[in-house]
C-alpha cells in the first residue's frame, strides 16, 4: 500500500466507523515511516469531513458521528507516538459553550459541542440555563478562543447581547471570539450585537469555529 492508498483507506475507515481498521492503518503508516501529521490531516480528517458532510445532509446521525470520531481518536492515539511532545499537546482550539440563562433548549448546542470535540477542540460545555457571569468566568479560567452561546427564544437571545457587554467589562472581549446560534438567532442579530460568528446549523458552526480558531492562531 502506497501513501496515497493509505490516506484513502484511512478516510474510508472513518466513514465506515471501523475502529479496528483505522488503528491497523495508523500502525501501518508508522511502519512505512509516513509523516503522522500528514496522515491525520489528509487521511483521517478527510474521512471525518466526509462524515460531517453526510451528517449535514441527514444521511448519518449523531451516534454514528460519535462512533466515527472514536475510531479517529483511536487512530490518532497511535499516530501521536510518532509525533514530538509539543505536537501531541495541540488542540484545534478551546471553546466554551452554553445555552443562555432562562433557556433550557440544548439539543442543538449539544450537537455543536459533540462535533467540536470530534474536530479536536477542547470543549467546556456549560449546559443549559447558564448565567452570563458563568460564561465569562469560564472564558477567563480556560483562556478560551471561542465562546458560543445558544438561545431558542426571543426572550433569552438578549442574553447574547449581555454576554458581549460582560466580556467587554471583564476585559476579555478582544481575547475571545463570540459565536451565536439557536432557532431565533440570525446573522442580522449577530451583526447587531457585534458577535464574531453565526451559523445556520451544527456543521456550519464547526466550520466557522475552525476558521476562527485558525485566524486566532495566526
Amino acid at each position: 500500500m502506497n501513501e496515497q492508498e493509505l490516506m484513502e483507506a484511512a478516510a474510508a475507515a472513518i466513514v465506515a466507523a471501523d475502529e479496528e481498521k483505522a488503528v491497523e492503518l495508523a500502525r501501518q503508516a508508522l511502519e512505512l515511516g509516513l509523516d503522522p501529521v500528514k496522515v491525520i490531516n489528509l487521511g483521517y480528517s478527510e474521512g471525518m469531513k466526509q462524515v460531517g458532510d453526510l451528517f449535514e445532509r441527514g444521511q448519518v446521525f449523531l451516534p454514528e458521528v460519535i462512533i466515527a470520531s472514536e475510531a479517529m481518536v483511536a487512530a490518532v492515539d497511535i499516530l501521536e507516538e510518532g509525533l514530538p511532545e509539543a505536537e501531541r499537546e495541540k488542540t484545534a482550539g478551546i471553546a466554551v459553550l452554553g445555552t443562555i440563562e432562562g433557556d433550557v433548549h440544548d439539543i442543538g448546542k449539544g450537537i455543536v459541542a459533540t462535533l467540536l470535540r470530534v474536530y479536536g477542540f477542547e470543549v467546556h460545555d456549560l449546559g443549559r440555563d447558564v448565567p452570563i457571569d458563568v460564561f465569562v468566568a469560564k472564558v477567563k479560567e480556560t483562556g478560551a478562543h471561542i465562546v458560543g452561546s445558544s438561545a431558542l427564544m426571543t426572550t433569552t437571545m438578549v442574553g447574547q447581547r449581555a454576554l458581549e457587554q460582560k466580556l467587554k467589562d471583564a476585559g476579555l472581549r478582544d481575547k475571545v471570539k463570540t459565536m451565536v446560534g439557536g432557532a431565533v438567532v440570525t446573522q442580522h442579530w449577530a451583526d447587531k450585537i457585534g458577535a464574531d460568528g453565526y451559523a445556520e446549523d451544527a456543521q456550519e458552526a464547526v466550520q466557522k469555529a475552525i476558521e476562527i480558531a485558525e485566524t486566532m492562531r495566526g
Binding site: 439539543i107 440570525t186 446573522q187
Partner: protein, 354 residues
C-alpha cells in the same frame, strides 16, 4: 437597468432583487430540496407562478374563490394570552375566550386547546382540570376542537425525567446508554400520551394533535406513531400529527417503525408512516434558512410539501408561520410573506389545509 423588487430574507429584512435574481433563487431553493429529499424539483410553470407572486406589488395576496383551504391553528389558545417569547401577544384572555375569538372573529375552521406547558407529560397530573376546560370549550363552540401537546421526550430525560439525557451521554461517547435511555423514554411517553388522550376522549374530545413531533429526535417520532396506533384502536378520536422539522433528527439513529428507519426521513416519507399508524391529518414542516431569501426558502418548502402531498392519502395541513413553510423567523410573521407562502402552498403543493 432591470426593475428591482423587495424580497424578504429568511430573517425578515428586505433586500431588492431583479426578476432574474428571484428566479435563480427559486430554482436553487427547489433544487436543494430535490437533492436532499431525492424528489422532483418544481417545473418551469411553477417557477413562473412563484415569480409572479414575488413581483406582485400587492402587500397581501390570496387564492381565487373556490380554492380556499381549511385554516386551522395549533397552540392557538395560547397565542393571544401567551407571552413566552416565542409566540403570543400577551392579551389577558382565558383559554376558552381565546378559542371563541379564533372561531367567531378569526374564522378558524378548527381550533385547539393546549396547556401552557404544551407537552403531554405535564398534563397527566392535571388531567382532571384539562377535562373540565375541554368540556366547557366543547359546549360553547361549533368548530372541531383538538387538544394539542408535544410528545417532548426531553421531559423524560435528566434533569426533568428518570432517564439519562442523550445530550449529555452522547458527547461522552456513551452511545449504548444514550440509546437505551431513548428506548425507555419511548415506552413511558406512549403510556402518558395514550392515558391523557383517552381521558380527553372520555369527556367528548373531538380530536388530538401531536404537535412538534420529532423535536427530540427519532425516539420522539417513534413514540408518537405507536401512541397513534394504540389510540386509533381504542378510541374514535381524530388524530393529527404535526412535525417539528423537515427531517427526523437521529438522536438514536437505529429506531424503526414497521421496518423503516426513522432517522433522516423527509416529509414525503414521514407521511407514509403517519398514515400507516392510522392518523387522519399530517402537518409537515419545512424550516426556514435565515441567511437565504424568501424566494429560496419558499421554493424549497413548496418542493418538499408538494412531494409530501403527492405521497399522501390523508389530508396535509402544512405548518405555516414563524420560521417554517417559507415564512421568515418573526414572532408574528409579516402578512406579505405569510400570504405569499400560503398561496404557493395551495396552488403549487396542493395542500388541504394551513
Amino acid at each position: 437597468m432591470a426593475e428591482k423588487y423587495p424580497v424578504r430574507m429568511g430573517d425578515g429584512h428586505f433586500v431588492e432583487m431583479t426578476a432574474d435574481e428571484i428566479r435563480a433563487h427559486l430554482i436553487e431553493g427547489s433544487e436543494d430540496a430535490a437533492d436532499r429529499g431525492k424528489i422532483a424539483p418544481l417545473e418551469d410553470s411553477e417557477y413562473d407562478f412563484l415569480l409572479d407572486l414575488f413581483t406582485n406589488p400587492a402587500r397581501v395576496v390570496g387564492v381565487p374563490q373556490g380554492h380556499e383551504v381549511v385554516l386551522t391553528h395549533d397552540i392557538g389558545t395560547l397565542r393571544l394570552d401567551g407571552d413566552q417569547g416565542n409566540s403570543g401577544v400577551g392579551i389577558p384572555l382565558s383559554r376558552l375566550q381565546g378559542i371563541q375569538v379564533h372561531e367567531r372573529a378569526f374564522a378558524a375552521d378548527t381550533m385547539e386547546l393546549g396547556h401552557v406547558d404544551y407537552s403531554w407529560k405535564p398534563v397527566k397530573p392535571i388531567i382532571a382540570q384539562e377535562q373540565q376546560v375541554l368540556e366547557n370549550v366543547l359546549l360553547s363552540t361549533i368548530v372541531p376542537i383538538f387538544y394539542g401537546a408535544m410528545p417532548n421526550l426531553g421531559l423524560y430525560y435528566a434533569p426533568d425525567g428518570p432517564f439519562g439525557n442523550p445530550s449529555d451521554l452522547l458527547p461522552m461517547a456513551k452511545i449504548d446508554e444514550a440509546r437505551e435511555a431513548q428506548e425507555l423514554a419511548v415506552e413511558h411517553a406512549i403510556r402518558d400520551m395514550v392515558y391523557v388522550a383517552t381521558k380527553l376522549w372520555d369527556v367528548g374530545g373531538d380530536a388530538i394533535n401531536f404537535d412538534t413531533t420529532g423535536a427530540a429526535g427519532d425516539a420522539d417520532f417513534k413514540a408518537t406513531l405507536h401512541a397513534v396506533e394504540q389510540l386509533k384502536d381504542s378510541t374514535d378520536l381524530a388524530i393529527e400529527v404535526g412535525m417539528a422539522g423537515e427531517f427526523i433528527l437521529g438522536m438514536h439513529g437505529k429506531l424503526e417503525y414497521e421496518g423503516t428507519r426513522l432517522a433522516g426521513l423527509f416529509p414525503h416519507d414521514q407521511v407514509k408512516l403517519v398514515e400507516k399508524a392510522g392518523a387522519d391529518i399530517f402537518g409537515p414542516v419545512v424550516n426556514t434558512n435565515t441567511s437565504r431569501s424568501m424566494a429560496w426558502n419558499l421554493a424549497r418548502a413548496v418542493t418538499f410539501v408538494k412531494a409530501c402531498v403527492e405521497a399522501s392519502n390523508i389530508p396535509i395541513h402544512v405548518n405555516m408561520g414563524m420560521g417554517v413553510g417559507g415564512s421568515p423567523v418573526f414572532e408574528t410573521p409579516p402578512i406579505d410573506s405569510v400570504s405569499r407562502a400560503s398561496v404557493a402552498m395551495v396552488e403549487i403543493a396542493r395542500v388541504d389545509g394551513l
